[in-house]
Symmetry: C2
Subunit: 162 residues, 2 copies
DNA sequence: GGAATTAAGGATATATCATATCCGAAAACG
DNA sequence: CGTTTTCGGATATGATATATCCTTAATTCC
């Protein structure tokens, strides 16, 4: 049960977008080069963010992506689900229904007890991600990343944004 | 990020094994037929449980599997990790290291902030599973499954155990 | 002792999905 | 108009889940 690498990419890209000056866009090319990622494939992750209305886009030179909402209004779960999908990690195939001792046409009142427990764990995972805002990540990063690296990184990407 | 179907199979099989009379074994064949599963492939899941020392095995006719510990000493996480592995769902490829603005030889003191959050969510998932014992599942099942179906199911599998 | 049964594990085949690249269309900008 | 960009479709490739088959060794029963 491994998350797509696009999840990691999307989170890091959102962190950069969150630090952009008001109104500026950042292209796929700039984000790919900054992180050392394949541009064409990263583009798919960014498209997912766009479809989830987490980022806005504009075309043409100096176009690209920017956040559609303030970083405090975006949580980790939104980003993760945008690229990974909203499907639960455990799917119940209802194998109890194959039990030959069950009478014909017997109908269960509740979902399978095993599935309920697995779904509860899945919810705990999602709850944790829901509680972390993108602004929290940016706060942590600006504390931990040396300020000169942090600053020159944004100068670097903005130079590429024209 | 989907769990293997073997996880579902293993959990249901453990629930049945937990209800067996003391000292009895149940074969792969019986467990596969009870749940309508491919015998050869289910065998791989049971082998995983065996390698994790969750079940004991014996060969020959009337051989098969039984729990190695009382159901109250086995939790969901043990079963899930036995077949799914212990690897975290999020793997950090440290793409921040590709940032061209980082000085040569710069070394991060902490693991990536993104990874720390994703791992925290992963721990929340594991914690939930760790807190549920196999005996809890059996308790729920014996409450919810009509007693005649519950009883005839064990008669059915025990007949197949010789 | 011999036949049947069983778990264990290796080898292999198939299907699904993640990863990755390429291309054409439409939009924005100078 | 020419360049740059997002977007979506098409396609290729690699890894992994799913599934089956076969051999070996251990155990039980006759």
């Amino acid at each position: 049960m491994i998350l797509k690498s696009q999840v990691e990419w999307a989170l890091h890209c959102c962190a950069i977008l969150a630090g952009l000056p008001e109104g500026r866009y950042l292209s796929t090319k700039a984000l790919a080069e900054l992180h050392g990622l394949p541009k064409e494939y990263l583009s798919k992750a960014l498209q997912s963010l766009s479809q989830a209305s987490l980022v806005e886009t504009t075309l043409g030179p100096s176009g690209g992506y920017r956040l559609a909402k303030p970083p405090s209004d975006i949580n980790f779960l939104e980003i993760v689900e945008a690229v990974e999908g909203k499907a639960r990690s455990f799917t119940c195939t209802n194998i109890r229904a194959n039990n030959p001792c069950r009478p014909e046409g017997y109908c269960d009142s509740k979902p399978c007890a095993v599935a309920r427990i697995m779904w509860e764990a899945d919810e705990a995972w999602r709850d944790t991600l829901r509680r972390v805002r993108l602004s929290d990540l940016v706060g942590t990063l600006s504390e931990e990343v040396p300020s000169d690296i942090w600053r020159s990184t944004f100068e670097w990407v903005l130079k590429r944004a024209g």
